[in-house]
């Protein structure tokens, strides 16, 4: 899809240099600058993204509720390890301004793109603006959970938006999560759709009582779906009793998942009847989906199986996805929380770890966090009611409401500390005589804690910088 020959007009160049100059100013004034330059440039030339994207050979877009950042970063990493010049954007920069900024930064002074491939994380609400302009070769959809509903109203709207958007992109291939009926609904009636899914024989589990199911309805006829098994949320092996809708056969299948510690599973590629053995530094069952989606996307764009198998073990997370620090001499894990499914999966991952624990939960309600924090009551915080957890410090703009949530989760009020300030709450956490600290932070508070922990403690070095966009 090389559209290099497109004639760029005066407005393009004006916008481009205004964007470049804004990047320079942001660096000069030490601003984060992941969105501002794009916003400036787009004001001058609204079609800028179309022109910028036309310079690339291959464009992959990742959208959905959870797992976008990890999936995007991992695809980018696979490509880079395979020697493909690639760029991507990072979370918080997944709206049109962020995408434009990332592409402006990839250009040299004369406006020529330095990379050949782009991997874009696309906000669910921005697909209508971004996808038609970049015309991706491949769109990966992770899952649809309830997330920041004050911003996007309901899931149905998001899904309809994506469906309508891809109607205008007949050549784009789709890679969809077969286990999520809401995602599968996106691809109905399209020819070029491939699916990935997790098949776990022994894992035929009933959903936990406190878990949420929102997607359990047939997208064809509205009936409640029945399940052979669940993984989490509405993900699983489902079928409709009234019509023919059911989980499609997956082209990329995760088998023999071991999520007891660092993840390990077999990826089976149906059409080649081949299997690759995947070992990862990531934890948590939900990351199986991210690794599976990213590996499948890499295979679709012809990255060799051996390259994926060989490079995955060295991949570690970007900021906020269970990043680790040493703080007051103890291991301190920092995790982003933004919706109930995410909280439940993070807790399933960290609670089995040994030793006495103290938690800090930071909940803000700014636009980036979601202004409605009622989702805290859908998350399974009851799990924190555990003898090995001695204190939970609540902070952020909604610290008091978080504390109330914990009280009703059954925690003794003597275990709950209310300390809205960022620095102050971290001080209180540091006083706790335990083996490990855990910080669960909503989006806008995450950066503040990451910054402070780097200053007051130190980051646990993995393989330091992979050239991936960091969140801060």
């Amino acid at each position: 899809m090389n559209k290099n020959s497109i004639n760029k007009g005066f407005r393009f160049w004006l916008a481009f240099y205004a964007g470049r100059f804004s990047v320079f100013l942001c660096r000069l004034f030490r601003l984060s600058g992941t969105s501002l330059p794009g916003a400036v440039a787009l004001r001058i030339c609204p079609q800028l993204l179309f022109y910028l994207a036309s310079a690339y050979e291959k464009i992959i877009a990742v959208t959905g509720t959870n797992g976008k950042t990890t999936t995007t970063n991992l695809i980018t990493y696979y490509l880079r390890q395979a020697g493909v010049p690639v760029i991507g954007n990072g979370e918080g920069a997944n709206m049109i301004t962020g995408v434009v900024t990332a592409l402006i930064k990839d250009c040299n002074f004369f406006g020529a793109a330095q990379s050949r491939t782009v991997v874009l994380e696309v906000d669910e609400g921005s697909v209508g603006k971004i996808l038609p302009a970049v015309k991706p070769d491949l769109i990966v959809v992770t899952n649809y959970f309830r997330d920041q509903l004050d911003r996007y109203s309901e899931l149905d709207h998001i899904i309809t938006l994506l469906r309508n958007t891809i109607d205008g992109l007949p050549e784009t291939e789709l890679l969809l999560n077969a286990d999520d009926p809401l995602v599968v609904a996106v691809g109905r009636g399209r020819p070029a759709v491939r699916y990935y899914g997790v098949e776990v024989e022994k894992d035929c589990k009933e959903p936990e009582k406190n878990e949420i199911r929102e997607g359990g309805f047939c997208p064809e006829c509205g009936e409640l779906l029945v399940y052979n098994y669940y993984h989490y949320g509405q993900l699983g092996d489902y079928r409709c009793t009234k019509c023919s809708f059911k989980r499609p056969e997956a082209d990329f299948v995760a088998l023999d998942v071991d999520d007891s510690d660092l993840l390990h599973f077999t990826l089976h590629v149906q059409n080649k009847n081949s299997s690759i053995d995947l070992h990862s530094q990531l934890r948590g069952f939900y990351n199986v989906y991210n690794i599976l989606a990213a590996s499948a996307a890499a295979l679709i764009i012809s990255i060799p199986e051996q390259s994926i198998e060989a490079s995955l073990p060295d991949y570690s997370t970007a900021t906020g996805r269970l990043e680790q620090f040493i703080y007051h001499g103890r291991l301190c894990t920092l995790a982003l929380i933004k919706n109930p499914i995410g909280v439940n999966e993070v807790m399933k991952t960290i609670l089995p770890q040994e030793g006495k624990k103290a938690f800090l939960i930071a909940i803000n309600d700014l636009a980036g966090d979601g202004k409605d924090v009622s989702w805290l009551w859908d998350a399974d915080f009851e799990k924190l009611n555990h003898p090995m957890i001695s204190k939970v410090v609540c902070s952020g703009r909604r610290a008091a409401e978080m504390a109330v949530r914990l009280k009703y989760a059954g925690l003794a009020t003597s275990k709950i500390v209310l300390e809205p300030g960022c620095r102050e709450s971290l001080d209180v956490l540091g006083l706790q005589q335990v083996d490990q600290y855990y910080i669960l932070a909503s989006y806008t508070s995450l950066f503040n804690y990451a910054k402070l922990l780097r200053k007051m403690g130190k980051a646990v070095a993995k393989d330091a910088d992979q050239g991936l966009p960091s969140l801060s």
Binding site: R146, L149, D150, S153, E154, L155, D156, I212, R213, E214, G216, F217, G222, L224, K371, D372, V373, S374, W375, L376, W377, D378, A400, E401, A403, V404, R405, K407, Y408, T413, I416, L418
Partner: protein
């Protein structure tokens, strides 16, 4: 003492943390030595509600409206009957709209509701989203005061609903909107109540953010007719959370 609770359609009406209301109700009963039995009433279930003290309906996605009304049609007379006899009911968001007289869609179709509340909803493209603060009506303030020991006259929540809901001539609002949109964004009314049935757009969950309101429902569920009083609890955390938000919203 024992309260029998019916959770209506938890399989569909499960948005915005609303089931937290039952958790709050449960705990506040339990802390006073009152037992709770909760039955889930799912889509397609039939039966009457005469054995329940408290019926709860949460919020849900607008796209499930038709499916819900089809099911609700069958049981609506039993719900109305229970409310007439003094059964306590709390319906949030879509649940509240479904229990009104009717919902008129954007295409002009009229869908008949259960008719518990003298209220009706006209769907349009408007959506009311944000924190909301109300001053309870004088009558409700009186009731809140009698039921609890807290001196709070406001209700706080997070509203997130589409369309506009209006009260009929017999309809009584829960309160006057100080900050936010309320039923329709025009007349500053929020919610409705009739006998011991309460409808509201307040999520949050509403009972978590308003412990005094939770206690009012508890009192009524224990004794629909006579006035009784509850053992006071240490609500300093809940009151702090309520007042923190109130201060932010009034500012």
């Amino acid at each position: 003492m024992r309260i029998r609770v019916c959770h209506l359609y938890p399989d569909v009406l499960n948005l915005y943390g609303d089931r937290g209301n039952l958790l709050v109700f449960h705990r506040r009963a339990q802390w006073r030595g009152i037992e709770l039995d909760v039955d889930q009433f799912l889509l397609g279930d039939r039966g009457d509600f005469s054995s329940y003290d408290f019926i709860f309906m949460g919020g849900g996605a607008d796209s499930r409206r038709t499916l819900l009304l089809k099911n609700l049609e069958i049981i609506a007379p039993y719900i109305v009957d229970a409310v007439e006899k003094g059964t306590v009911l709390l319906a949030i968001g879509l649940g509240f709209q479904l229990l009104g007289r009717y919902i008129k869609t954007e295409d002009g179709d009229v869908m008949v509701g259960a008719g518990v509340f003298d209220a009706y909803t006209e769907m349009d493209s408007s959506r009311s989203v944000g924190d909301i603060l109300l001053e309870a009506t004088a009558d409700l303030q009186e009731e809140l005061k009698k039921a609890g020991n807290m001196d709070i006259t406001t209700l706080i929540g997070f509203e997130n609903h589409s369309g506009r809901t209006y009260l009929g001539e017999q309809g009584k609002a829960l309160g006057r909107v100080i900050k936010g949109k309320g039923n329709n964004g025009k007349d500053r009314t929020e919610g409705a109540y009739y006998k011991n049935a309460f409808g509201t757009f307040l999520h949050g969950p509403v009972l978590a953010k308003n412990p005094h309101f939770a206690d009012l429902l508890l009192v009524k569920a224990l004794s629909p007719q006579e006035e009784i009083s509850l053992e006071p609890l240490d609500d300093s955390l809940e009151i702090l959370a309520h007042n923190t938000m109130k201060k932010r919203l009034i500012r």
